[in-house]
Symmetry: C2
Subunit: 242 residues, 2 copies
Protein backbone atom coordinates (compact mmCIF):
# COMPACT_ATOMS: atom_id res chain seq x y z
CA UNK A 1 0.00 0.00 0.00
CA UNK A 2 1.12 3.54 -0.84
CA UNK A 3 0.30 5.89 2.03
CA UNK A 4 0.59 9.68 1.65
CA UNK A 5 -0.21 12.66 3.86
CA UNK A 6 -0.97 16.12 2.48
CA UNK A 7 -0.69 18.75 5.21
CA UNK A 8 -2.71 21.39 3.36
CA UNK A 9 -5.33 21.24 0.58
CA UNK A 10 -2.93 23.39 -1.48
CA UNK A 11 -0.47 20.49 -1.65
CA UNK A 12 -2.99 18.39 -3.60
CA UNK A 13 -2.48 18.76 -7.33
CA UNK A 14 -5.04 17.81 -9.97
CA UNK A 15 -4.99 14.08 -10.61
CA UNK A 16 -2.96 13.24 -7.47
CA UNK A 17 -5.82 11.35 -5.86
CA UNK A 18 -6.89 9.22 -8.82
CA UNK A 19 -6.94 5.57 -7.73
CA UNK A 20 -6.70 6.66 -4.10
CA UNK A 21 -8.89 6.57 -1.00
CA UNK A 22 -8.62 10.02 0.58
CA UNK A 23 -9.29 10.52 4.29
CA UNK A 24 -10.04 14.18 5.00
CA UNK A 25 -8.97 15.38 8.47
CA UNK A 26 -10.03 18.58 10.19
CA UNK A 27 -9.67 17.35 13.75
CA UNK A 28 -10.55 20.71 15.33
CA UNK A 29 -13.40 20.58 14.45
CA UNK A 30 -15.17 19.95 11.12
CA UNK A 31 -14.58 16.23 10.62
CA UNK A 32 -15.21 15.58 14.33
CA UNK A 33 -18.56 17.35 13.94
CA UNK A 34 -19.39 15.40 10.78
CA UNK A 35 -18.65 12.09 12.51
CA UNK A 36 -20.81 13.05 15.50
CA UNK A 37 -23.63 14.29 13.27
CA UNK A 38 -23.79 11.15 11.14
CA UNK A 39 -23.37 8.89 14.19
CA UNK A 40 -26.27 10.70 15.83
CA UNK A 41 -28.62 10.14 12.93
CA UNK A 42 -28.12 13.02 10.51
CA UNK A 43 -29.01 11.74 7.03
CA UNK A 44 -26.19 13.56 5.28
CA UNK A 45 -23.81 16.51 5.40
CA UNK A 46 -23.54 18.74 2.32
CA UNK A 47 -20.23 20.62 2.46
CA UNK A 48 -20.19 24.16 1.05
CA UNK A 49 -17.02 26.21 0.65
CA UNK A 50 -18.59 29.65 1.19
CA UNK A 51 -21.42 30.97 3.39
CA UNK A 52 -23.21 32.13 0.23
CA UNK A 53 -22.94 28.67 -1.33
CA UNK A 54 -24.29 27.16 1.93
CA UNK A 55 -27.31 29.47 1.95
CA UNK A 56 -28.08 28.69 -1.72
CA UNK A 57 -27.68 24.96 -1.12
CA UNK A 58 -30.11 25.09 1.78
CA UNK A 59 -32.66 26.89 -0.40
CA UNK A 60 -32.27 24.28 -3.16
CA UNK A 61 -32.73 21.42 -0.71
CA UNK A 62 -35.77 23.16 0.82
CA UNK A 63 -37.36 23.35 -2.64
CA UNK A 64 -37.03 19.57 -2.77
CA UNK A 65 -39.12 19.37 0.41
CA UNK A 66 -36.20 18.97 2.86
CA UNK A 67 -35.78 20.91 6.11
CA UNK A 68 -31.99 21.20 6.06
CA UNK A 69 -30.01 22.68 8.93
CA UNK A 70 -27.40 25.32 8.17
CA UNK A 71 -24.27 24.84 10.26
CA UNK A 72 -20.62 25.83 10.46
CA UNK A 73 -18.39 28.69 11.47
CA UNK A 74 -16.34 31.65 10.40
CA UNK A 75 -13.51 32.57 12.75
CA UNK A 76 -14.75 29.75 14.95
CA UNK A 77 -18.13 31.45 15.46
CA UNK A 78 -21.60 30.43 14.17
CA UNK A 79 -22.65 32.95 11.50
CA UNK A 80 -25.93 34.83 12.04
CA UNK A 81 -28.94 32.90 10.71
CA UNK A 82 -27.20 29.54 11.05
CA UNK A 83 -28.96 26.77 12.99
CA UNK A 84 -25.83 25.22 14.46
CA UNK A 85 -22.16 26.16 14.83
CA UNK A 86 -19.26 23.73 14.53
CA UNK A 87 -19.05 22.23 18.03
CA UNK A 88 -19.26 18.42 17.81
CA UNK A 89 -21.37 18.48 21.00
CA UNK A 90 -24.13 20.43 19.21
CA UNK A 91 -24.82 17.58 16.81
CA UNK A 92 -26.99 15.56 19.20
CA UNK A 93 -29.68 13.06 18.17
CA UNK A 94 -32.53 15.52 18.95
CA UNK A 95 -30.78 18.28 17.00
CA UNK A 96 -29.79 16.38 13.86
CA UNK A 97 -31.68 13.05 13.80
CA UNK A 98 -33.19 12.47 10.34
CA UNK A 99 -32.02 15.87 9.04
CA UNK A 100 -29.74 16.98 6.24
CA UNK A 101 -27.00 19.44 7.22
CA UNK A 102 -25.44 22.07 5.00
CA UNK A 103 -22.01 22.79 6.50
CA UNK A 104 -19.44 25.46 5.76
CA UNK A 105 -16.27 25.88 7.81
CA UNK A 106 -13.14 27.95 7.30
CA UNK A 107 -10.79 25.09 6.51
CA UNK A 108 -12.58 21.73 6.59
CA UNK A 109 -14.95 22.11 3.69
CA UNK A 110 -12.09 23.29 1.45
CA UNK A 111 -10.29 20.03 2.15
CA UNK A 112 -13.30 18.04 0.95
CA UNK A 113 -13.31 20.18 -2.19
CA UNK A 114 -9.61 19.38 -2.76
CA UNK A 115 -10.29 15.65 -2.33
CA UNK A 116 -13.05 15.47 -4.95
CA UNK A 117 -10.79 13.67 -7.48
CA UNK A 118 -10.19 10.68 -5.18
CA UNK A 119 -11.82 7.30 -5.79
CA UNK A 120 -13.32 7.43 -2.29
CA UNK A 121 -13.44 10.35 0.15
CA UNK A 122 -13.76 9.54 3.86
CA UNK A 123 -14.24 11.84 6.85
CA UNK A 124 -11.55 11.09 9.45
CA UNK A 125 -10.93 12.38 12.96
CA UNK A 126 -9.59 11.10 16.26
CA UNK A 127 -13.18 9.96 16.94
CA UNK A 128 -13.17 7.34 14.17
CA UNK A 129 -9.46 6.80 13.56
CA UNK A 130 -9.59 3.00 13.83
CA UNK A 131 -12.77 2.70 11.80
CA UNK A 132 -11.12 4.69 8.99
CA UNK A 133 -8.06 2.44 9.10
CA UNK A 134 -10.33 -0.63 8.89
CA UNK A 135 -12.16 0.89 5.91
CA UNK A 136 -9.02 1.45 3.81
CA UNK A 137 -7.27 -1.74 4.85
CA UNK A 138 -7.34 -3.46 1.45
CA UNK A 139 -6.69 -0.35 -0.66
CA UNK A 140 -3.68 0.10 -2.92
CA UNK A 141 -3.28 3.83 -2.34
CA UNK A 142 -4.44 5.88 0.64
CA UNK A 143 -3.98 9.60 1.23
CA UNK A 144 -4.78 11.68 4.27
CA UNK A 145 -5.72 15.22 3.26
CA UNK A 146 -5.39 17.62 6.18
CA UNK A 147 -7.52 20.75 6.21
CA UNK A 148 -4.71 22.76 7.79
CA UNK A 149 -5.34 26.27 8.99
CA UNK A 150 -5.74 29.18 6.59
CA UNK A 151 -3.75 27.33 3.95
CA UNK A 152 -0.97 26.41 6.35
CA UNK A 153 0.26 23.37 8.27
CA UNK A 154 -1.83 22.65 11.40
CA UNK A 155 -0.38 20.49 14.17
CA UNK A 156 -3.76 19.11 15.33
CA UNK A 157 -4.45 17.75 11.85
CA UNK A 158 -0.89 16.49 11.40
CA UNK A 159 -1.01 14.52 14.66
CA UNK A 160 -4.44 13.14 13.79
CA UNK A 161 -3.18 12.15 10.33
CA UNK A 162 -0.26 10.43 12.02
CA UNK A 163 -2.55 8.43 14.26
CA UNK A 164 -4.51 7.35 11.18
CA UNK A 165 -1.21 6.38 9.50
CA UNK A 166 -0.22 4.30 12.54
CA UNK A 167 -3.60 2.57 12.63
CA UNK A 168 -3.35 1.79 8.90
CA UNK A 169 0.18 0.38 9.28
CA UNK A 170 -0.92 -1.81 12.21
CA UNK A 171 -3.60 -3.41 10.04
CA UNK A 172 -1.61 -3.74 6.82
CA UNK A 173 -1.29 -7.19 5.28
CA UNK A 174 1.26 -6.02 2.68
CA UNK A 175 4.22 -3.61 3.14
CA UNK A 176 3.24 0.07 3.41
CA UNK A 177 5.28 2.72 1.57
CA UNK A 178 5.16 6.12 3.29
CA UNK A 179 5.84 9.41 1.55
CA UNK A 180 7.65 12.22 3.41
CA UNK A 181 4.37 13.61 4.76
CA UNK A 182 3.21 10.25 6.10
CA UNK A 183 6.63 9.64 7.66
CA UNK A 184 6.56 13.00 9.44
CA UNK A 185 2.93 12.56 10.55
CA UNK A 186 3.70 9.10 11.94
CA UNK A 187 6.63 10.53 13.89
CA UNK A 188 4.61 13.46 15.24
CA UNK A 189 1.86 11.06 16.37
CA UNK A 190 4.53 9.10 18.23
CA UNK A 191 5.64 12.28 19.95
CA UNK A 192 2.12 13.33 20.95
CA UNK A 193 -0.61 11.29 22.57
CA UNK A 194 -4.26 12.02 21.93
CA UNK A 195 -5.69 14.44 24.49
CA UNK A 196 -7.52 17.71 24.83
CA UNK A 197 -4.38 19.17 26.42
CA UNK A 198 -2.34 18.30 23.34
CA UNK A 199 -4.96 19.97 21.12
CA UNK A 200 -5.00 23.02 23.42
CA UNK A 201 -1.31 23.51 22.59
CA UNK A 202 -1.99 23.86 18.85
CA UNK A 203 -2.93 27.07 17.04
CA UNK A 204 -6.46 25.76 16.37
CA UNK A 205 -6.86 24.74 20.01
CA UNK A 206 -5.64 28.07 21.34
CA UNK A 207 -8.04 29.95 19.06
CA UNK A 208 -10.91 27.80 20.29
CA UNK A 209 -10.03 28.39 23.94
CA UNK A 210 -9.87 32.15 23.27
CA UNK A 211 -13.32 31.97 21.66
CA UNK A 212 -14.67 30.32 24.83
CA UNK A 213 -15.09 26.98 23.07
CA UNK A 214 -12.26 25.08 24.77
CA UNK A 215 -14.70 22.45 26.02
CA UNK A 216 -14.86 21.10 22.45
CA UNK A 217 -11.26 19.93 22.60
CA UNK A 218 -11.82 16.95 24.91
CA UNK A 219 -14.56 15.67 22.61
CA UNK A 220 -12.41 16.20 19.49
CA UNK A 221 -9.71 14.09 21.22
CA UNK A 222 -12.01 11.17 22.13
CA UNK A 223 -10.15 8.49 20.23
CA UNK A 224 -12.25 5.74 18.66
CA UNK A 225 -15.48 7.01 20.21
CA UNK A 226 -17.30 6.12 16.98
CA UNK A 227 -17.13 3.16 14.64
CA UNK A 228 -18.56 4.88 11.57
CA UNK A 229 -16.83 6.23 8.46
CA UNK A 230 -18.81 8.95 6.71
CA UNK A 231 -18.01 8.97 3.00
CA UNK A 232 -18.64 11.52 0.27
CA UNK A 233 -20.85 10.40 -2.62
CA UNK A 234 -21.47 12.98 -5.35
CA UNK A 235 -20.45 15.78 -2.96
CA UNK A 236 -22.71 14.57 -0.16
CA UNK A 237 -21.21 13.02 3.00
CA UNK A 238 -23.16 10.14 4.52
CA UNK A 239 -23.01 6.45 5.43
CA UNK A 240 -24.84 3.57 3.76
CA UNK A 241 -27.92 2.96 5.91
CA UNK A 242 -30.04 -0.15 6.04
Amino acid sequence: MRLRVYFTPGEVHAGDLRGTSAAVVDAVRATSSIVEAIANGARAVHPAVTVGEAVRLRAELAEDGERPLLCGERGGIRPGGFDLGNSPAEFTPPAVGGRRLVMTTTNGTRAFAAAVGADRVLAASFLNRSAVADAVRGDRAVAVVCAGRKGRFALDDAVCAGHVVRAVIERAAAPVTLDDGATAARDLAGRYGVSGEMLAGTAAGRALVEAGLGADLALCASADRRQIVPMMYDRVITVPRG
Copy 2:
Protein backbone atom coordinates in the same frame (compact mmCIF):
# COMPACT_ATOMS: atom_id res chain seq x y z
CA MET B 1 10.76 36.27 19.28
CA ARG B 2 8.09 34.84 16.99
CA LEU B 3 9.39 31.82 15.11
CA ARG B 4 7.46 30.26 12.22
CA VAL B 5 8.11 27.46 9.74
CA TYR B 6 6.45 27.26 6.33
CA PHE B 7 6.80 23.77 4.84
CA THR B 8 6.06 24.85 1.27
CA PRO B 9 6.33 28.17 -0.60
CA GLY B 10 2.57 27.85 -1.22
CA GLU B 11 1.90 28.33 2.51
CA VAL B 12 3.38 31.85 2.37
CA HIS B 13 0.68 34.44 1.78
CA ALA B 14 1.31 37.99 0.59
CA GLY B 15 2.38 40.18 3.48
CA ASP B 16 3.15 37.27 5.84
CA LEU B 17 6.86 38.01 5.91
CA ARG B 18 6.73 41.76 6.50
CA GLY B 19 8.85 42.59 9.54
CA THR B 20 10.38 39.13 9.39
CA SER B 21 13.78 37.60 8.68
CA ALA B 22 13.14 34.66 6.36
CA ALA B 23 15.59 31.75 6.17
CA VAL B 24 15.07 29.81 2.94
CA VAL B 25 15.87 26.08 3.19
CA ASP B 26 16.36 23.67 0.31
CA ALA B 27 18.69 21.28 2.07
CA VAL B 28 18.88 18.84 -0.86
CA ARG B 29 20.43 20.75 -2.57
CA ALA B 30 19.97 24.37 -3.65
CA THR B 31 20.76 26.24 -0.44
CA SER B 32 23.64 23.85 0.30
CA SER B 33 25.06 24.70 -3.13
CA ILE B 34 24.55 28.43 -2.58
CA VAL B 35 26.38 28.29 0.76
CA GLU B 36 29.27 26.35 -0.79
CA ALA B 37 29.44 28.68 -3.80
CA ILE B 38 29.55 31.86 -1.75
CA ALA B 39 31.96 30.33 0.80
CA ASN B 40 34.24 29.36 -2.07
CA GLY B 41 34.40 32.87 -3.48
CA ALA B 42 31.47 33.27 -5.86
CA ARG B 43 30.57 36.96 -5.91
CA ALA B 44 26.81 36.39 -6.00
CA VAL B 45 24.04 33.97 -6.93
CA HIS B 46 21.15 35.27 -9.03
CA PRO B 47 18.15 32.95 -8.56
CA ALA B 48 15.88 32.43 -11.56
CA VAL B 49 12.60 30.53 -11.39
CA THR B 50 12.65 29.15 -14.95
CA VAL B 51 15.40 27.95 -17.30
CA GLY B 52 14.33 30.64 -19.77
CA GLU B 53 14.62 33.34 -17.13
CA ALA B 54 18.08 32.03 -16.20
CA VAL B 55 19.29 32.15 -19.80
CA ARG B 56 17.97 35.73 -20.23
CA LEU B 57 19.55 36.80 -16.94
CA ARG B 58 22.92 35.42 -18.00
CA ALA B 59 22.69 37.35 -21.26
CA GLU B 60 21.85 40.57 -19.42
CA LEU B 61 24.75 40.13 -17.04
CA ALA B 62 27.09 39.34 -19.96
CA GLU B 63 26.08 42.63 -21.60
CA ASP B 64 27.29 44.32 -18.43
CA GLY B 65 30.71 42.75 -18.99
CA GLU B 66 30.29 39.84 -16.56
CA ARG B 67 31.14 36.19 -17.28
CA PRO B 68 28.31 34.57 -15.33
CA LEU B 69 28.01 30.83 -14.88
CA LEU B 70 24.68 29.16 -15.54
CA CYS B 71 23.90 26.46 -13.00
CA GLY B 72 21.07 24.40 -11.61
CA GLU B 73 18.93 21.38 -12.41
CA ARG B 74 15.68 20.05 -13.73
CA GLY B 75 14.71 16.62 -12.42
CA GLY B 76 18.02 16.69 -10.54
CA ILE B 77 20.03 16.85 -13.81
CA ARG B 78 22.10 19.75 -15.24
CA PRO B 79 20.26 21.12 -18.29
CA GLY B 80 22.12 21.15 -21.61
CA GLY B 81 24.23 24.29 -22.05
CA PHE B 82 24.56 24.87 -18.32
CA ASP B 83 28.04 25.31 -16.83
CA LEU B 84 27.32 23.61 -13.53
CA GLY B 85 24.59 21.42 -12.06
CA ASN B 86 23.34 21.59 -8.50
CA SER B 87 25.86 19.43 -6.62
CA PRO B 88 27.39 21.44 -3.76
CA ALA B 89 30.73 19.73 -4.52
CA GLU B 90 30.83 21.36 -7.97
CA PHE B 91 31.05 24.86 -6.51
CA THR B 92 34.79 24.75 -5.79
CA PRO B 93 37.07 27.82 -5.56
CA PRO B 94 38.54 27.20 -9.05
CA ALA B 95 35.07 26.77 -10.53
CA VAL B 96 33.29 29.72 -8.95
CA GLY B 97 35.91 32.07 -7.44
CA GLY B 98 35.14 35.68 -8.43
CA ARG B 99 32.21 34.65 -10.64
CA ARG B 100 28.52 35.47 -10.64
CA LEU B 101 26.17 32.47 -10.83
CA VAL B 102 22.72 32.38 -12.35
CA MET B 103 20.91 29.49 -10.67
CA THR B 104 17.60 27.80 -11.39
CA THR B 105 16.42 24.72 -9.53
CA THR B 106 13.09 22.90 -9.42
CA ASN B 107 12.12 23.90 -5.91
CA GLY B 108 14.77 26.11 -4.28
CA THR B 109 14.58 29.18 -6.44
CA ARG B 110 10.77 29.26 -6.06
CA ALA B 111 11.22 29.47 -2.31
CA PHE B 112 13.42 32.54 -2.70
CA ALA B 113 10.72 34.06 -4.91
CA ALA B 114 8.12 33.38 -2.20
CA ALA B 115 10.33 35.04 0.44
CA VAL B 116 10.80 38.30 -1.46
CA GLY B 117 8.47 40.23 0.90
CA ALA B 118 10.60 39.55 3.98
CA ASP B 119 12.75 42.25 5.59
CA ARG B 120 15.80 40.00 5.19
CA VAL B 121 16.14 36.79 3.19
CA LEU B 122 18.87 34.34 4.25
CA ALA B 123 20.06 31.10 2.63
CA ALA B 124 20.00 28.32 5.23
CA SER B 125 21.10 24.70 5.14
CA PHE B 126 22.62 22.13 7.47
CA LEU B 127 26.00 23.55 6.37
CA ASN B 128 25.42 26.95 8.00
CA ARG B 129 22.67 26.19 10.51
CA SER B 130 24.45 27.78 13.50
CA ALA B 131 25.61 30.81 11.54
CA VAL B 132 22.00 31.45 10.48
CA ALA B 133 20.82 31.16 14.08
CA ASP B 134 23.51 33.66 15.14
CA ALA B 135 22.44 36.06 12.39
CA VAL B 136 18.77 36.20 13.44
CA ARG B 137 19.43 36.14 17.18
CA GLY B 138 18.16 39.65 17.93
CA ASP B 139 15.22 39.62 15.51
CA ARG B 140 11.59 40.00 16.56
CA ALA B 141 10.16 37.65 13.92
CA VAL B 142 11.91 34.83 12.10
CA ALA B 143 10.44 32.48 9.52
CA VAL B 144 11.95 29.42 7.90
CA VAL B 145 10.59 28.97 4.37
CA CYS B 146 11.12 25.42 3.13
CA ALA B 147 11.39 24.82 -0.60
CA GLY B 148 9.53 21.52 -0.27
CA ARG B 149 9.27 19.22 -3.24
CA LYS B 150 6.97 19.92 -6.18
CA GLY B 151 4.76 22.07 -3.95
CA ARG B 152 4.60 19.46 -1.21
CA PHE B 153 6.08 18.85 2.23
CA ALA B 154 9.67 17.55 2.09
CA LEU B 155 11.16 15.77 5.10
CA ASP B 156 14.76 16.85 4.41
CA ASP B 157 13.76 20.51 4.51
CA ALA B 158 11.50 20.01 7.53
CA VAL B 159 14.28 18.38 9.56
CA CYS B 160 16.74 21.09 8.47
CA ALA B 161 14.20 23.77 9.45
CA GLY B 162 13.84 22.05 12.82
CA HIS B 163 17.58 22.11 13.42
CA VAL B 164 17.57 25.84 12.60
CA VAL B 165 14.66 26.29 15.04
CA ARG B 166 16.58 24.44 17.76
CA ALA B 167 19.70 26.52 17.16
CA VAL B 168 17.65 29.73 17.33
CA ILE B 169 15.95 28.67 20.58
CA GLU B 170 19.33 27.79 22.13
CA ARG B 171 20.57 31.31 21.50
CA ALA B 172 17.41 33.22 22.39
CA ALA B 173 17.66 35.90 25.08
CA ALA B 174 13.86 36.38 25.22
CA PRO B 175 11.11 33.73 25.11
CA VAL B 176 10.48 32.23 21.68
CA THR B 177 6.91 31.64 20.48
CA LEU B 178 6.63 28.77 17.99
CA ASP B 179 3.81 28.35 15.52
CA ASP B 180 2.50 24.87 14.64
CA GLY B 181 5.04 24.48 11.83
CA ALA B 182 8.00 25.43 14.03
CA THR B 183 6.76 23.10 16.78
CA ALA B 184 6.50 20.17 14.36
CA ALA B 185 9.87 20.96 12.75
CA ARG B 186 11.56 21.13 16.18
CA ASP B 187 10.06 17.75 17.08
CA LEU B 188 11.10 16.16 13.78
CA ALA B 189 14.67 17.45 14.25
CA GLY B 190 14.66 15.82 17.69
CA ARG B 191 13.62 12.55 16.07
CA TYR B 192 16.27 12.69 13.33
CA GLY B 193 19.93 13.47 13.63
CA VAL B 194 21.85 15.09 10.79
CA SER B 195 23.38 12.53 8.46
CA GLY B 196 23.57 11.50 4.85
CA GLU B 197 21.72 8.30 5.79
CA MET B 198 18.81 10.32 7.16
CA LEU B 199 18.68 12.36 3.94
CA ALA B 200 18.84 9.15 1.89
CA GLY B 201 15.56 8.10 3.52
CA THR B 202 13.69 11.16 2.23
CA ALA B 203 12.01 11.51 -1.15
CA ALA B 204 14.60 14.05 -2.29
CA GLY B 205 17.43 11.81 -1.14
CA ARG B 206 16.04 8.72 -2.84
CA ALA B 207 15.62 10.63 -6.11
CA LEU B 208 19.22 11.80 -5.89
CA VAL B 209 20.51 8.29 -5.25
CA GLU B 210 18.50 7.04 -8.24
CA ALA B 211 20.05 9.78 -10.39
CA GLY B 212 23.53 8.57 -9.37
CA LEU B 213 24.12 11.67 -7.24
CA GLY B 214 23.89 10.07 -3.81
CA ALA B 215 27.40 11.24 -2.94
CA ASP B 216 25.95 14.76 -2.55
CA LEU B 217 23.98 13.73 0.53
CA ALA B 218 26.92 13.50 2.92
CA LEU B 219 28.01 17.01 1.96
CA CYS B 220 24.46 18.37 2.30
CA ALA B 221 24.42 16.88 5.83
CA SER B 222 27.74 18.43 6.94
CA ALA B 223 26.40 20.41 9.86
CA ASP B 224 28.06 23.75 10.54
CA ARG B 225 30.73 23.24 7.91
CA ARG B 226 30.45 26.93 7.00
CA GLN B 227 30.16 30.10 9.06
CA ILE B 228 28.65 32.31 6.37
CA VAL B 229 25.08 33.46 5.81
CA PRO B 230 24.35 34.40 2.21
CA MET B 231 21.58 37.00 2.06
CA MET B 232 19.39 38.23 -0.76
CA TYR B 233 19.70 41.93 -1.64
CA ASP B 234 17.50 43.16 -4.48
CA ARG B 235 17.07 39.56 -5.71
CA VAL B 236 20.79 38.82 -5.63
CA ILE B 237 22.21 36.42 -3.02
CA THR B 238 25.61 37.32 -1.63
CA VAL B 239 27.50 38.25 1.52
CA PRO B 240 28.99 41.62 2.43
CA ARG B 241 32.66 41.44 1.46
CA GLY B 242 35.46 43.62 2.74
